[in-house]
């Protein structure tokens, strides 16, 4: 299945290095995506809410969400998304360094679609991003806008 429309990804990540790695990984991919980056939880919510009431009402197709964020952490952001009728259908992938059991359980309880631990190794990280890209942009049927 070939995607014709570029998909929009909202990356909520406070580490510029990780943003760079993710962008690097996505650039290596064959497919076209538009990456929006915000570096804290509150900005993410502002972004999503303003987006949803904008003139074209366009929402991101996928959200990549870190857990350790300034001001509002990933769990809170995920909870607000799932409580918002307009946003709750958007797939959310947690992308974090934490392998804490509590974080994993909470994320799934809050209806995260996937929980991925950032690999320590750069090459492995890039591989993960490319796999994500391949899965979500080519295989997964996303909710219609």
């Amino acid at each position: 299945m070939i995607q014709t429309e570029p998909i929009e990804i909202l990356l909520v990540e406070d580490s510029p290095g990780d943003v760079e790695l993710i962008q690097h990984g996505l650039r290596r991919g064959e497919l076209h995506s538009i990456l929006h980056v915000v570096n804290d939880g509150e900005k993410a919510m502002e972004h999503l809410e303003s987006w949803s009431v904008g003139p074209d009402g366009k929402l991101p197709d996928l959200i990549l969400l870190d857990i350790n964020l300034p001001r509002m952490n990933g769990h809170e952001v995920l909870k607000k998304i799932r409580e918002n009728e307009l946003l709750r259908a958007i797939p959310v992938v947690i992308l974090t360094t934490s392998d804490h059991k509590g974080d994993v359980m909470n994320a799934y309880n809050e209806q995260a679609n996937a929980y991925i631990q950032k690999p320590l190794d750069a090459a492995a990280f890039i591989d993960v991003i490319r796999s994500l890209d391949a899965l979500w942009l080519t295989m997964v049927r996303l909710p219609p806008q």
Binding site: S15, L21, L120
Partner: protein, 592 residues
């Protein structure tokens, strides 16, 4: 203090009081018996002595009878002397004869008596029809004032004389004062009447028959004090005596001036006794010497001794109670202190564990950046560095990797913590080992290891911690194999009542026992990086996990000849001990 101790003290007190009471009763009974015997004896003495005097009087009567009433002064004196009154009748004042003289016969009587004693006269004057003058009284010297005394002049003397005359029996008078007693103390006269047949019949109307006629009396005058002195002088007595005739006191020893007087006698009794026509009341009381002779400390000693023992017993019990209370309060205080220290320690441990976790986690982020971009730099721009730049980049990547491995070790170590024990429960060791072997499958295959496993019991703990222990021990057993050999590992389990000892035995390079202390310390490694990979956290984590579950971890080894790691964990509660299975089986996935 416990109830039973009070009961013992109460019982002991009862026994003491009981013993005291019975001792008291016993003493009292004996003492009263003694008093009664003494009282009887004294009364008997008086009675017997009176009988002796009566006998003397009757012997006088016999003399008068023999002489047919015609008694001469000399004959009576002779008789009186033969009685040896002073010697044999102490207390008697004398023995004499009173003759009954009719008014008409008085001149003849006087004439007859004046022949022997010219100054004899009858006195005092009275109005009775008859005269009862004292004719003789011996020894006369002491009784001069009585000679010629007509006893009819005074009612008490006269009444008793009439009774004696009528009854023919010995009689005594009511209390009188003797004429010869200068001290005017109470006394009495003791009469024994005699009768003469030859006398002319009485002319008074009272004469009833022609039998012998009352002719007189042999008599003895008594001063009561002297009598009693005579009776009782030689006796050792424990009682004092008072005798009264009606309301008249005859004799009284119950006086403070008497040496043996007891103002508060222990016993007393009053007997009334008929004594020769009179009723004498004997008032007998225990004396001071009685009190002293029967003074016994026994009951009071029993009481004091018993109470003293009870007091000691009570004191002992109270002391024991106080000591118990003190010990309990000390123990409580110690327990409370220990609890608070334990709580503080637990809190401090949790803080430390949290700190280690947070620090490791936060360190990991920048470290990942360094490592990631160093390797990215190497991968994508490697060609643009010269050899030295490449080498330095290599050190950077390698250092970041090692640092990551250490931080990972820290994280793993900090995750094995006491809060995990909150979820402790029964864990099937067999399943845990199977799961660990699945995780280690790449290493097992690569090394060609053979694993033998006993039947393993269920233990009490958490699955994660047991997994840490088996992972560490099994991966070490495979890792530290002799070069060029396939390791052979065996897992045994031996249970006693509460604990299970697991043993992991390998045939690897072994450990010099001088490193026994070091191998369980985090980041301690015995081999250079080139020989055996690892961060040096596995055994530290295993030791911590075993300790958290309440067990111990130790090893035995000869370098070059394998090692055996033993660790104990509590058996799962309420699960019976499984018998140790001697046969073993090959682990799944292990090459044969």
């Amino acid at each position: 203090m416990h109830g039973f101790r009070w009961v013992i003290v109460a019982l002991s007190l009862c026994v003491t009081v009981g013993a005291w009471y019975f001792a008291q009763e016993n003493v009292e009974q004996k003492r009263r018996g003694q008093f009664e015997r003494e009282a009887d004896r004294v009364r008997q003495l008086v009675v017997e002595r009176m009988q002796k005097y009566e006998d003397a009087l009757w012997s006088g009567v016999a003399v008068v009878d023999v002489l047919d009433g015609d008694i001469a002064y000399g004959a009576w004196r002779e008789f009186a002397e033969s009685l040896r009154i002073d010697e044999r009748y102490p207390g008697i004042h004398g023995i004499g004869v009173i003759e009954a003289v009719e008014r008409s016969e008085l001149p003849a009587y006087l004439e007859k008596r004046r022949r022997e004693r010219p100054d004899f006269h009858v006195h005092p004057v009275h109005e009775q029809d008859d005269y009862l003058p004292i004719t003789f009284i011996e020894p006369e010297a002491d009784n001069k004032s009585a000679v010629g005394l007509d006893i009819a002049h005074e009612a008490n003397r006269y009444q008793a004389a009439l009774h004696a005359a009528e009854s023919g029996r010995a009689q005594i008078t009511a209390p009188i004062v003797l004429a010869q007693d200068a001290q005017k103390t109470p006394g009495f006269l003791f009469y024994a009447p005699y009768y003469l047949a030859a006398r002319a019949p009485r002319t008074d109307s009272n004469a009833e028959d022609d039998g012998p006629t009352f002719a007189g009396m042999v008599y003895a005058p008594f001063v009561f004090a002297n009598l009693m002195h005579g009776i009782l002088a030689q006796e050792t007595r424990y009682v004092s005596l008072g005798i009264s005739d009606g309301t008249d006191a005859l004799y009284d020893e119950h006086l403070p001036t008497v040496a043996d007087y007891d103002p508060d006698p222990l016993y007393s009794r009053r007997d009334t006794l008929a004594v020769y026509g009179r009723e004498w009341t004997f008032d007998i009381r225990s004396s001071l010497s009685f009190r002293n002779a029967h003074q016994t400390q026994q009951p009071i000693l029993i009481l004091i001794g018993g109470i003293l023992i009870d007091g000691l017993l009570l004191g002992l019990f109270l002391a024991i109670s106080a000591t118990n209370r003190k010990a309990l309060s000390l123990a409580d205080a110690a327990t409370a202190e220990l609890e608070s220290k334990t709580a503080a320690l637990k809190e401090s441990n949790q803080e430390l564990e949290h700190f280690v976790y947070v620090a490791s986690h936060d360190l990991q982020e920048p470290l990942r950046m360094v490592g990631s971009f160093a390797s990215l730099l190497h991968a994508e721009y490697g060609g643009q560095f010269d050899a030295q730049g490449e080498r330095w980049l290599g050190f950077m990547v390698d250092g970041a990797k090692r640092m990551q491995s250490l931080v990972q070790g820290f994280l793993a170590y900090s995750r094995v913590n006491s809060t995990e024990m909150d979820t402790a429960g029964p864990v099937e060791a067999q399943q845990v080992v199977a799961s660990v072997l699945r995780d280690l499958e790449p290493e097992l295959e690569e090394s060609g290891a053979t694993i033998e496993i006993d039947n393993l019991p269920a233990v009490h703990g958490t699955e994660d911690q047991l997994r840490h222990v088996f992972t560490s021990l099994l991966s070490n057993a495979i890792k530290f194999r002799l070069p060029g050999t396939s390791p052979s590992v065996r897992i045994e389990a031996n249970s006693d009542r509460t604990m299970c000892t697991f043993t992991v035995i390998d045939d690897g390079i072994g450990i010099d026992e001088k490193y026994a202390d070091r191998i369980f310390v985090i980041f301690q490694r015995l081999h250079g990086d080139d020989a055996f990979q690892g961060a040096g956290v596995g055994l530290a984590i295993a030791k911590k996990a075993v300790a958290l579950q309440g067990g111990t971890l130790r090893f035995e080894s000869n370098p070059g000849d394998g090692a055996a790691f033993h660790f104990t964990v509590p058996l799962a509660r309420s699960t019976p001990n499984p018998p140790r299975i001697v046969s073993s089986r090959k682990a799944q996935g292990a090459p044969v």
